[in-house]
């Protein structure tokens, strides 16, 4: 059960999108999101969708994988669609009981669903094509200017990468604790929500204790390997800005300007 949890799942590959610098990809996703939310009409959406489809094709990520990513959010999507459908004022199309579907509502619902799916797919494409460690590297470098304001940028990036490193370890540990508690008669499946939540306490307490112990040992091991913070660190795989990144960045900027210009014309 717990093995299915994947946060920031990465699919290795060797496409231009995979090779791109994480900074380019992060900036591109930001541009993409801004563009998506500044769409003024159908033409704008089509442009953003075309951009997304092109990116997905280049990255060679299978459509099935992408749809799988959308699946857990299906309830939110349906909920948003229904709300938009019934609660937007406009010309009445169908009326039954106390619910009315209007033309504007239908249009809103469709666009909202498209927007959410495109938003999720776009951001997932980033994590699908970028390994967690390069992603944190990219974030650290992008946020570097904030160091001048004494923001703990390196520390945050380090915490993120350690968290990612320990996700599988802690999942394994949770599985072990669950089996141990089940072997002693603990029941996690039956009962109402409150009983189920209470049943989690005997899992969470040992998990926290062990996580703290691990953290302590890891800190010692890091000190043993001369860790003294971000000052003066070098990298095994430093990030390189290539021509590909310049091209990628230009594409992102062109998309954003395109959408904003179209918006001026109400498209």
């Amino acid at each position: 059960m717990l093995k299915d949890i994947t946060i920031g799942q990465y699919f290795p590959g060797d496409t231009p999108i995979h090779r791109m610098d994480p900074r380019t990809k992060i900036l591109n996703v930001i541009f993409y999101i801004i563009a998506l939310f500044s769409c003024g009409g159908i033409v704008g959406y089509v442009l953003v969708l075309a951009y997304l489809i092109a990116a997905v094709r280049i990255s060679r990520i299978k459509l099935k994988t992408i749809l799988k990513g959308v699946k857990p959010l299906i309830i939110i999507i349906i909920f948003t669609a229904l709300l938009n459908m019934f609660y937007t004022p406009g010309n009445e199309l169908v009326h039954f009981w106390r619910l009315t579907i209007t033309d504007a509502g239908l249009k809103n619902a469709v666009l909202m669903v498209a927007r959410i799916i495109m938003l999720i797919t776009g951001t997932f494409l980033l994590t699908y094509t970028t390994s967690p460690i390069t992603l944190t590297d990219g974030l650290e470098l992008l946020l570097n200017p904030l160091k001048k304001l004494h923001a703990p940028v390196h520390e945050l990036a380090m915490m993120m990468s350690i968290a990612l490193r320990f996700i599988p370890t802690l999942i394994e540990e949770t599985d072990k604790i669950m089996s141990a508690q089940k072997a002693r008669g603990a029941d996690f499946e039956t009962g109402n929500l409150i009983q189920k939540a209470k049943a989690l306490i005997p899992i969470l307490v040992p998990l926290f204790v062990s996580a703290f112990r691990r953290a302590d040992e890891l800190a010692t091991a890091m000190e043993c390997r001369c860790y003294t913070g971000g000052e003066g660190r070098t990298r095994l795989n430093p990030l390189h800005w290539q021509r590909l990144d310049t091209i990628g960045l230009i594409c992102g900027i062109v998309l954003l300007t395109g959408v904003i210009v179209l918006r001026q014309f109400g498209l």
Binding site: R225, R233, R235
Partner: protein, 282 residues
């Protein structure tokens, strides 16, 4: 410099709130020579791990002094040079691997030390090669076996090119296969790289190939000699709850029955030979 580590009249006790401090060891003297393979043996709670943590200034003695390659561990300015010269490998491989890519983890110490990228690459590959993990360099550590993880941890320390490596029960959490792999690597460290190896363990078998065995009990050193001479003292080892290697055990049992066998035949071959020559005198 002859001594890698010199412990002079060192004491250590854990401070406790509202209770007497717990003394781990007192007035301990010990020196470890460069290039030796030293095994520190002892039962749980005998102070061997606490002592090991003093060897690279993770802990500081509450009394006395410790010199690591001539540097006083109390001196803050020498902290990085000390940790660079004495690498440390711990019991649980999961809790000492920092990164989720093998090669990035091995590079961690070098990145911290600000070594140029090309040299990091070269040293990481050399270290991974030395522990036979080069082909796994792009793997995720959590997909590796315990023995492989521990080998990655050793590579991470080896990449620093320390003069001395301290291993604190590196095999305690491993299965027999993993244990064998790791012990094999540890034995090679001294031979191939000329580093001083300090192995802390409670497995007698792992001490057989050492240059020197130190037995600790209750914070004191109760034996300090070659493996052969230490293991011959069967009664002493038993009195502190340590089991002697199976070969010594057998020879000792035979001697109890009236035979006169040498107790220092540690390898299976030597042991068989000793029994053979006793049974069929030429």
């Amino acid at each position: 410099m002859d001594h890698a580590i010199e412990v002079k009249d060192a004491s250590f006790s854990y401070e406790q709130t509202e209770a007497e401090p717990v003394k781990v060891f007192e007035h301990l003297d010990l020196s470890i020579e460069q290039g030796h393979f030293v095994v520190i043996l002892g039962h749980n709670g005998c102070g061997k791990s606490t002592l090991a943590k003093h060897f690279n200034a993770i802990l500081l003695p509450s009394g006395g002094t410790l010199y690591v390659y001539g540097m006083d561990t109390k001196n803050d300015r020498d902290l990085i040079p000390i940790r660079r010269s004495v690498g440390m490998v711990f019991q649980n491989p999961d809790n000492q691997i920092v990164s989720n890519v093998v090669e990035e983890d091995v590079a961690f110490a070098l990145e911290n030390l600000g070594i140029p990228t090309e040299e990091i690459r070269e040293r990481v590959d050399a270290a991974l090669n030395a522990v036979g993990m080069l082909e796994f360099r792009r793997h995720a550590p959590h997909r590796l076996s315990g023995g492989q993880k521990q080998r990655v941890a050793i590579a991470g320390v080896l990449a620093m090119r320390p003069q001395c490596i301290v291993l604190d029960e590196p095999t305690a959490m491993l299965d027999p296969v993993g244990r064998k792999e790791v012990i094999e690597i540890i034995r090679e460290l001294g031979e191939k790289f000329g580093v001083t190896v300090v192995l802390i363990t409670h497995h007698m078998r792992e001490a057989v190939n050492a240059d020197r065995v130190i037995v600790m009990n209750g914070g004191e050193i109760i034996a300090d000699d070659t493996p052969k001479r230490v293991f011959s003292q069967v009664e002493l080892l038993r009195s502190v709850g340590l089991a002697v290697p199976e070969t010594t055990e057998l020879l000792y049992a035979l001697n109890q029955e009236g035979w006169d066998l040498p107790l220092d035949a540690l390898s299976v071959e030597d042991c068989a030979q000793a029994i053979y020559s006793a049974v069929c005198p030429a």
